[in-house]
């Protein structure tokens, strides 16, 4: 029993969904808990530290993804073009964009997870349903990099619909690219181009191992 206890404990930790009652968790508290938990998990994991991207992505899938609203992100990134997509195309767009964002997020985490974070107090009224949670990444001899999470309250808890890094909105930054592709080769062209981008990244990741 004694020897099995730690293992059981660890196992139960894995099975517990992170914030079980995330609807009640304040947005800034949510960002802080999730960030610190993920950073701690990375720090402890030798394989991820050694560059195991697949493992890092599955960690993000489990811990971070539930707090993002990818449909809203895709819709915002598409802008006018969103209306041109059929429901089936929308579903595929959200899926492809999600894959790309998660991969990008994984690279960013791998690069910056050993930095210090400064979690700013939330400036919002108690009944606000759309807030910005501010985190700053502190670095030696340079201005801290602000990361702003735009979050919206939903029945399933607070969900991130945009991330701004150093004043650059991720969602807005895809807007021109997406619209250019849709203009030149339609919604189907955009899905294809996202798909081939994801495939080439996956191939590059696999080649590295």
């Amino acid at each position: 029993m004694n020897r099995a206890a730690p293992a059981l404990l660890a196992l139960s930790g894995l099975l517990l969904p992170l914030p079980a009652q995330s609807a009640d968790v304040a947005p800034d508290a949510l960002v802080k808990t999730v960030t610190l938990e993920v950073v701690a998990l990375i720090a402890r994991d030798k394989e991820i530290k050694a560059g195991n991207r697949a493992k890092l992505i599955s960690l993000i899938d489990a811990k971070v993804l539930p707090h993002f609203n990818f449909e809203a992100m895709t819709q915002l990134a598409m802008g006018q073009s969103w209306r041109k997509a059929a429901p089936e195309q929308k579903r595929r767009l959200v899926g492809e964009f999600k894959t790309l964002l998660v991969r990008t997020y994984a690279s960013a985490l791998a690069a910056y997870s050993d930095q210090k974070f400064d979690f700013r107090p939330l400036r919002a009224r108690p009944n606000d349903t759309d807030v910005t949670v501010q985190v700053r990444v502190l670095q030696q001899g340079a201005q801290p990099v602000p990361i702003d999470y735009s979050m919206e309250k939903t029945p399933a808890g607070w969900k991130v619909y945009d991330v701004m890094v150093g004043g650059v909105s991720l969602v807005a930054n895809y807007r021109t690219e997406f619209n250019n592709v849709v203009r030149d080769s339609g919604v189907e062209g955009l899905i294809k181009s996202l798909d081939s981008k994801n495939r080439s990244l996956e191939a590059a990741g696999a080649a590295k191992k």
Binding site: S107, A108, Q140, G141, V168, N173, V181
Partner: protein, 228 residues
């Protein structure tokens, strides 16, 4: 001056793409310089920065970054004063004072620990604060993304750069190369992530630059651009 006129003429000549982005009327010229910069980065800047990162320990790289960052603080202070931000400007000068003395010529950033935060300012941001719009997007050789306003700002930044005063010339050049290497090394992760994230790197980088500069002009408090 004649060079500038010739440059503007050249730019105007290149501005002829039919369905171009209104923020990027010089796209033809820009893509040309972009290609050159990518090549320069592939064969020289990035390999040098990677070697530097591989062989110079992090501790030493932090000292190098701090040293050059300290030399930049006085003019960051000047720009804060020009923008009417008195306390920030004084803070920058206090940083320079403490880091140059206690921080041993700037290699240790003691000012941050004392509570004086490092700022990011330059003449382009000052012009923006005074009301100048960004103007057309412009890619500068070697230096990369800019716009007409920030390009003029960069000319002033270079003019004000204390590195220009260093003699002998060899020492000055070595310091400029070291600083450039440090800057590029600090961007290695970011440029790899950009490469992964972008469908069209030129467009992605341009839009990120324009967003970033807008945010910097407002010191991170830019009015949100509403999505429809």
């Amino acid at each position: 001056m004649r060079f500038l006129a010739a440059l503007l003429f050249l730019l105007a000549g290149c501005a002829s793409t039919a369905e171009g982005d209104p923020r990027d009327p010089f796209e033809g010229w820009n893509r040309g310089v972009y290609k050159f910069n990518e090549k320069f980065d592939d064969v020289l800047a990035r390999p040098v920065a990677e070697t530097y990162q591989d062989f110079v320990p992090r501790e030493l790289r932090d000292r190098v970054r701090n040293f050059f960052g300290n030399l930049a603080d006085p003019f960051i202070g000047v720009n804060n004063l020009l923008q009417g931000k008195l306390s920030e400007g004084v803070e920058d000068w206090a940083r320079f004072f403490f880091n140059t003395t206690i921080g041993l010529l700037g290699i240790h950033d003691v000012a941050t620990e004392l509570g004086f935060e490092k700022h990011n300012e330059d003449f382009g941001q000052t012009f923006g604060r005074w009301g100048a719009g960004p103007g057309p997007y412009l890619i500068l050789p070697i230096l990369g993304s800019s716009n007409v306003r920030d390009g003029l700002g960069t000319a002033l930044d270079i003019y004000a750069d204390p590195m220009g005063e260093v003699r002998p010339i060899d020492a000055r050049n070595s310091l400029i190369v070291l600083r450039g290497t440090q800057v590029r090394a600090d961007l290695l992760d970011a440029s790899r992530i950009l490469q992964e994230a972008a469908l069209d790197k030129y467009v992605f980088q341009r839009d990120a630059y324009l967003q970033r500069r807008r945010s910097l002009v407002y010191d991170g408090r830019a009015p949100r651009e509403r999505f429809e």
